[in-house]
Symmetry: C2
Subunit: 153 residues, 2 copies
DNA sequence: TTCAGTTAGACAGATAAACTGTCTTAAATA
DNA sequence: TATTTAAGACAGTTTATCTGTCTAACTGAA
């Protein structure tokens, strides 16, 4: 069945990166509901990934996520409504608002990291601990290369 | 700037897979417009990836992409309108339609593969040809493992 | 061999996640 | 101080998914 449903010629680098990422994302966000965070959807990941420990402004989050302020505001307002974020005025800039994770939001971040680590461990058993280490190291080098010339997410 | 804007603790396996994939997808689909295929968007990738050389049915495409028939029909109709696909009756099943790539559609597939290969070559220069080979081999093993227990797209 | 159940796709409508454009207000600058 | 820039709000649009319902066609079992 392996190369029947998805021929090897389609196993491009993009496909090789996308396939496991989709599975991982699906498992992480699927498990969120079970862990008591049903309102957290994949799109909200950018907020959790880019928010700083002492809070961030919506514009900064948008910049770092590489998306429009309006789009970020939409995600932030959803998370605020459901208690994952607290939004207050920015003391340094009267126009801006400061967004910070609540305890519930911190718990989401922790859950996501835990889940990610346990899936990684499972996959390390499948392909070998050595290869998994090598994989991460080389992906890290690729990341450094890509970061050295613009690029966010 | 490297770990300033995106701290290392966020370099989870998911992030390591997602970051290069996003860049690759952006470059491939960005180049599509320049190559004369402006109507092809990232979401249409599932069609090109899963369609068979002698044509496929919408339901089969949907199944293999792991999405609803309606969603696939929406993507297919867009590509048909712009001349990337031809849709005809299925000779074996009066209910079904057969979807097949036109020459223009084949050209998209080729362009996507060419672009992917050239980006891969660029990245191989950045991280080394050996590591790139190892990376692909290990991602391939991960793919096999994931495929052995359900999973599509 | 007909008839019940299933499947393919169409149509309608909903939602999520992004976008652009415009507006107000505040900040920064010249 | 006057002008420009920046932050976020509000309105509307597009894209990409989903469910639900419907008809036509196929399939298998009595």
């Amino acid at each position: 069945m392996k190369s029947g449903s998805y021929p090897d010629r389609h196993r491009t680098l993009g496909a090789l990166l996308r396939a496991p990422w989709r599975v991982l994302e699906g498992r992480v966000y699927g498990a969120m509901a079970e862990r008591g965070f049903p309102e957290v959807r994949p799109a909200h990941g950018v907020v959790f990934r880019h928010i700083e420990a002492d809070g961030s402004r919506v514009s900064d989050l948008a910049d770092r996520a590489g998306m429009a302020k309006q789009s970020m505001a939409y995600l932030v307002s959803h998370l605020e409504e459901h208690g994952y974020l607290r939004v207050g005025p920015d003391p340094l800039d009267g126009r801006a608002k400061r967004v910070i994770l609540t305890e519930r939001g911190e718990a989401v971040l922790k859950a996501a990291h835990d889940l990610s680590r346990s899936i990684e461990a499972e996959w390390a058993l499948a392909i070998g601990a050595g290869p998994m280490e090598t994989l991460k190291r080389d992906l890290g080098r690729l990341w450094d290369y890509l970061e050295a010339e613009d690029h966010q997410s």
